[in-house]
Amino acid sequence: MPEITLTQDPVHLRHGSNIGRPLTRRDGLLKVTGAARYAADNNPKGLLHAVVAVSTVARGRVVALDVEAAMAHPGVVEVMTPANRPALAGDPDAKPNPLVFRLDLLQSDRVRYAGQPIALVVAETLEAATEGAVLLAPRYESEPPAVGLDDGERFVPTAVGPGAPAELRHGDVEAGLAAAAQAIEATYETPPQYHNPMEPHAVVARWDGDRLTLDTPSQAMAMARLRLAALFGIPPENILIRSPFLGGGFGCKGLLSGPQVLGVMAARLVGRPVKLALTRAQLYGPVGHRSPTRQRLRLGADGEGRLTALEHHTLMSSSRFDEFFEPASNASHALYASPAIATLHEAVRLDCGTPMFMRAPGEAPGSAALESAVDEMAEACGLDPLEFRLRNYAEVEPTTGRPFSSKALRECYARGAERFGWERRPLAPRSLRDEHGLLVGWGVGTAIFPALMFEAEARAVIRRDGGGTVEIGACDMGQGAWTALAQIAADAVGLDGERVEFRSGSSDLPDGGIAGGSAHTATAGSAIHSAGAAVVARLAELAMADERSPLFGAGNAGVVARDGRLHRRDDESRSEGYAEILERAGLAEVEARGKGAMDAAAQQRYAMQAHGAVFAEVKVDPDLGQVRVTRLVGAFAAGRIINPRMVVSQYYGGMIWGVSFALHEQAVMDRRSGRPMNADLAGYHIPVNADLPALETILVEEEDPHVNALGIKGVGEIGITGTVGAIANAVWHATGVRVRQFPITLDRLLG
């Protein structure tokens, strides 16, 4: 089976007709009819239900659990506690690399955060298990928790995000500030936020000897499998994870969470299949969150409004027992040109669950602060905020001098501004009113998100019946991977979409990598593209070596695969169908594998980023401070667009999360107990439909020959960046009041 990795155009060119089409979701019908089967919809025979009991204190020890009372409740089968949990082969507190996070798997009576699982009740029914968990009536020895950013000792973490340096200094910031004609210093705060996917984490686990089958939502099945293999001391091949659909993830299903493993442990303990589904409230603790941030920005500009210095300092938190540091300052690395840039991070440790990758980790809060500060700087210079951004346009990556692999940000600004009508914006704040007397404001923010890639593998088959199969363990978390990847697959094997069976969402398929970092289409897509090229190459070899084929001897000229046929590149009239080639070769099928990964050399040479410009209009009630976003226009350039319909939806989604970040979302922490006071969707607000304005997105064309063979950047998270700042800037423009605390709430606005 040939295996090739592609970074350049393949010799056997294919002409795509699937990529670029605005197909609707292949799984759309399943979802609207309720036929899509999510993890918790599985009910294998003999199933038991598990419910976790979680800690109500944030720091201390569990000193008593009434296991007897729970066991005495009718229907309760077992109570799993630190005393009787199955032994683990791997230590849940081990940290072999930064992407392995410490899990709470009942290893001791220690409580490290509110919401930590402290026991698990397994019963014949969900009701009995729920009641059993209540009957445990835990008692604690508790200590006062550290809850806010001022509660801990500051330190500089060794790395931030997935392993970036915590501090980067380019040029001399102090000299830049000293030489500046205008300088500003401003501090912005963002609150703790929780991922809140629609589908809470669920797992249905079944053991057969030392083989494990589980239905559970996962943004990275192969990694989940490795973690489980290490924890339970079994080979990864013994584990089958099925994750055909995720009801959203936003990062909290990227790495296996503690409760998912607890479900597996419970199944082992009772020797029957077990289902464990978290409640909404239980998502506020053991599955990650975004840390609060306090970001101080110092900017200087010369008489022409060109930045002389940019310093971005972030204070954020991690848990007391593990490391994840929101890399917010790094949003300032690649966006605005400045001779001096410093990005700095400090952290404190709090008694909370470990923060986790969440919707544009780093970029989202970092962009919120940076875009606000840039607006404040523009105001100090007396410049239109868009003009100010253009004057500070980075032609090369400012901190490294590397050229961008592609960058159509200028077009984004221009097209977005035109659609929005930006040129009519008065410079002075509080100078627009609508017919009802509401204050109107317009703001802009620049969007940026790195074009990342992980590693993935795919398998492609072309059969004698003229059809094909493409397999990859990729994840459709609602973003449309099933659809977009299938489009890439059809082009990869030169077949019409209907003739290709696309299989995905299961760990027994080739490793599809991670649906995260906005890198899934690029990574899994590249793997599919490589596998397709490889299988077409095999077919071409067969034909070109066979003198009975019209393609015999095409050799150096090469062939093109299209509509189930190979054509000579130099003479398209000479062609042969896949079926005939295989028929004559006496083969039922040919298959090949391919890989997708970033091209390290290209990554060295080029800065790779997707860009965009977001324009926002808000209306503010002058008496009540009520803010409504009335218009959002986002123009984005993110390389090749596989499916414009899905991509527009991704941008909408990102922009909606931006509205959420700017105006609604925040976990309000109880300083005494360390618990969030609004651990449900009635209290933890995200925008409802009525809060959402007319959204418009513009797909700005961008060809990128360097990011990967298909020229794909990511679109999943960029929409949230830029949007938050654009809204905050519009609120300032409407009211003249600069709120530096997110979300911008009414009382903060009225002061």
């Binding site: 209540v134 609604h664 309000v668 609004n678 009382d747 009225l750």
Partner: protein, 288 residues
Amino acid sequence: MRYEAPETLDAAVALLAGESGLAKVLAGGTDLLVQLRSGMIEPALVVDIKRIAETRRIQEESGGFRIGAAVSGAEMGEHAGLKAAWPGVVEAVELIGSTQVQGRATAAGNLCNASPAADSVPALVAAGATARIVGPGGSRELPVEAVAAGPGRTSLGRGEIVASLFLPARGAGQGDAYLRFIPRTEMDIAVVGAGVCLTLDGDGRCTRARVALGAVGPRVILAEAAAAALVGTTLDEAALDALAEAASAAATPIDDKRGTADFRRRVAGVLARRTAVIARDRAKGAAA
């Protein structure tokens, strides 16, 4: 937990009075079921009143309307006569929740849940509505403002239930309105609510006013000084300013995550003023 669904009020009262543990009435359940599921309450007995015929009707009575305790918000919204007479009350009820919640939620349940932020209550109080209470001792009629005793507490005795709400006949030159203030556009709990009911004479002078404020005290506040600021005036700017000031002064809010006390006091004034303008315009329409 025992669940009963009797078919008469007497049977319901008997069940409730006979239970020594916690007994709860179930109307739409949009509060009660949430409280049950979250473990906030664990009643020994739940008595569903939806099978009792007289709780399911809206009936005209003495020129006004008697609304059964199990009538849903959606049903009130579909009642043309009720809507024409008491638009403020109906709008307030219709603000509760979403379409799904509207199909179940009742005004009586909103009242008996005794949340300080209940949307329909300020409108009912402003309208001068009464509640018919039936219990082991018979039946009595209580002004709605006397039903809530504090957050989550009512003045109802053991075995007592609200059988119906009564909205009096709408007088000539009378108009009512309700506005609530929420940060989000929908699906949110009032930060402040204001209900106003006004009567104007032929000259457009206010002869009677009731102003009720929600979410700015432990229970809905009947702001008498605010109402007094309107009576005798033609509801000109000066009178409306005085109303706003009096409403802010009447508010006794607390700080919570949905707004600071200062902010709520301020909003109470702005909102009372805006509500009064709508009520005034309706009253003028009614006088014409």
